[in-house]
């Protein structure tokens, strides 16, 4: 079936080619001597036209196949990207702290558990935890406090099986507030741990069920 159309087309082409070759002149008397060269020529032209059509059809088919493959690849890339995004969303969930405290609040344990699952699903993933403080404490001390907050989250994850060398810690004290306002709500937001990819985060699997 696939070849039926090209075949029909090429037969037509021969007829058209012949008509073009002979048209435009008064009907000639039958020629006793067959001009075999002209016939051969006409056949060759018809053949060339047929091949040209075949080529263009093949090219069109190939292009269509290439586009389909590209679409499939793009679809799967988009899927991977979506999953990576979802995984990064799990990683990016911040945890918050009470004033001048570095203990993990009970409500934040679930967030850390999801990050543990994420690290388990992606053995190449390495992360950095950066601790932050509100502006109320002593500027210098807040660097130490931010460090404690980062270490608290790291210890939680290491105690649950994540290799310590996959988690780096840092502190910015009160130097990078999310919200510069001087309100309880702003201070609460600013007392936080941020989690970022430090390596192996180009393609991530979201843990099952998340």
């Amino acid at each position: 079936m696939r070849f039926s159309i090209p075949l029909t087309l090429s037969l037509g082409a021969v007829v058209v080619a012949a008509a073009v070759a002979c048209g435009g002149q008064p009907a000639p008397p039958p020629t006793p001597a067959v001009d075999s060269a002209a016939i051969r020529d006409s056949i060759a032209r018809a053949e060339a036209a047929r091949r040209a059509r075949e080529d263009s059809i093949r090219r069109a088919r190939e292009e269509a196949e290439r586009l389909a493959a590209e679409r499939r690849r793009a679809d799967s890339l988009a899927m991977i990207a979506r999953e990576t995004e979802r995984a990064k969303g799990i990683l990016a969930e911040m945890i918050n702290f009470d004033f001048d405290k570095s203990n993990i609040r009970p409500g934040d344990a679930a967030k850390l558990d999801r990050k543990i699952a994420l690290l388990q699903a992606n053995p190449m993933l390495r992360i950095t935890i950066t601790g932050h403080c509100d502006e109320r404490g002593s500027d210098e001390y807040n660097l130490a406090l931010g460090n404690r907050r980062a270490l608290a989250a790291k210890n939680y994850m290491v105690n649950r099986g994540i290799a310590a060398d996959r988690i780096a810690t840092a502190s910015r004290g009160e130097e990078q507030p999310l919200d510069p306002a001087r309100t309880e709500a702003a201070w609460e937001r600013n007392r936080r741990d941020e989690f970022t990819v430090s390596a192996g985060g180009d393609m991530l699997k979201a843990p099952a069920g998340m």
């Binding site: 001048d100 950095t128 950066t130 109320r136 404490g137 002593s138 500027d139 210098e140 001390y141 660097l143 130490a144 406090l145 931010g146 460090n147 404690r148 270490l151 790291k154 780096a168 810690t169 840092a170 502190s171 910015r172 130097e175 430090s198």
Partner: protein, 437 residues
């Protein structure tokens, strides 16, 4: 205009001019009896008006005011002109009207006049004794010279020394953090210049003992490196032993041989030293596994380091030998009652330790007398934090938000007088230099 001079003329009495400089015996506070709330009156005399001398008089007057050692007598400009030293016509001898100055409340009078090019002569008159206390000259470059202000400040400090026996604190500077950058500024609040480059976030500046270099932290990636920057050339050097982890609050030992700083890493936060003189031997002085130890400050003899530590819960002030032995509580506190204590700085005379302590949710500046370990609170209005000593051990600068924004303030511990130094932006983490000589 001419009535005022006439009005004071009856006060004039012919007193022989004293032309030769006299050297009174010097000592601490020679000739001054401090009475509560009474400081010697000081008059900066007018005289020949030139742009340079006017600037010198303005700067010197403010420096002497900021020394908090004197009651500065100020008069409208035209009056102070008339109070200048008169030269008797014909003889060329000078007439110093001690009685007039005394009547105005002056115990001392200061005259500035231009001598040769680039030289200003200062005469300090003892008004009560009706003598010249001292005459000296100082090289003062032209107004446009970048050293003009500092040269004038040095002259002010010498005037204070001539009168009180202890040099003033005008020829000093501040380093501080504003926004993300370190700036330097003269002690009187003038000549603010950026130090750390634009862009990277900087932190915790401090001075080398000679006031020529600044040490500070710059945040990079996950860490904080300490840079040492020459303040004249602007050249800076990243200290190799701070290239990992988060290193901050760098301080030099008084002789410049040792370097101490806080480092936050996986072990917690600890005080480290590094021997700059022999370029070796990074040493961890505290063990921070279960407590944070930070903000080191050297005693002036270089033998002890005070620091803050969370070893008993909230941060409090501790002290240890420079090798890390003999760690003990330094500033007493009531467990469960006293608030967090931070940012200690040992006074240059070794007798006091300043720090800030949380009082009812706001930091306040405290000073502890080292000998008796008696602690007293200096501030109470607003948030007051990060105190830093002037080289005289009598003045403290600190950050206060009492006007609504965090600004630099100075308190004189002897009189309790407080003044605001900066008025723009937000100022943090000030560091007061030694004298710039």
């Amino acid at each position: 205009m001419s009535l005022r001079p006439l009005a004071v003329l009856p006060l004039l009495a012919l007193v022989p001019a004293v032309s030769a400089a006299q050297e009174p015996t010097e000592g601490v506070r020679v000739g001054i009896t401090y009475q509560p709330g009474v400081r010697p009156g000081l008059l900066v005399l007018g005289g020949p008006r030139t742009e340079l001398l006017d600037s010198v008089r303005t700067i010197v007057t403010r420096d002497l005011e900021f020394s908090d050692d004197f009651e500065i007598i100020t008069l409208p400009a035209e009056d102070s002109l008339v109070l200048g030293i008169q030269t008797a016509s014909g003889t060329g001898s000078e007439f110093v009207n001690y009685r007039l100055y005394g009547a105005l409340g002056a115990d001392f009078a200061v005259r500035a006049r231009a001598e040769d090019a680039g030289v200003v002569a200062i005469t300090v008159y003892d008004v009560r004794g009706e003598t010249v206390r001292r005459e000296f000259t100082a090289g003062i470059p032209v107004l446009s010279d970048p050293d003009f202000r500092m040269a004038t400040h040095r002259m002010s400090d010498e005037i204070v020394r001539v009168i009180t026996g202890t040099p003033g604190i005008a020829a000093t500077r501040f380093l501080f953090l504003q926004g993300r950058r370190i700036f330097r500024m003269d002690a009187d609040g003038a000549d603010v210049q950026p130090v750390s480059p634009d862009g990277a976030a900087a932190f915790s500046p401090s001075w080398d003992p000679r006031g020529r270099r600044a040490a500070y932290t710059e945040f990079h990636d996950g860490g904080g490196y300490v840079y040492l920057q020459d303040l004249t050339t602007g050249q800076r050097l990243r200290l190799s032993f701070t290239q990992s982890a988060l290193n901050y609050t760098p301080v030099f030992s008084p002789d410049g041989s040792l370097f101490a700083f806080s480092r936050s890493d996986e072990e917690g936060t600890d005080v480290f030293t590094y021997n700059l003189a022999s370029d070796c031997c990074l040493q961890r002085l505290t063990s921070g596994r279960f407590a944070d130890n930070l903000s080191p400050t050297f005693s002036p003899d270089g033998r002890r380091i005070a620091f803050s530590s969370t070893r008993s819960g909230l941060p409090q002030i501790y002290v240890m030998s420079v090798d890390g032995t003999g760690q003990e509580l330094f500033a007493p506190f009531d467990y469960g009652v006293t608030g967090s204590s931070h940012a200690p700085e040992w006074s240059p005379d070794g007798r006091s330790l300043a720090f800030h302590r949380d009082v009812g949710g706001s930091p306040q500046v405290f000073v502890m007398e080292v000998a008796t370990r008696t602690v007293r609170q200096l501030t109470s209005a607003g948030r007051n934090e990060d105190p830093t000593w002037a080289p005289d051990g009598q003045h403290l600068a600190f950050v206060s938000d009492r006007t609504g924004r965090r600004q630099l303030w100075v308190i004189d511990l002897e009189t309790g007088r407080v003044r605001q130094v900066t008025r723009t932006g937000e100022v943090r983490l000030p560091a007061w230099s030694g004298r710039m000589y």
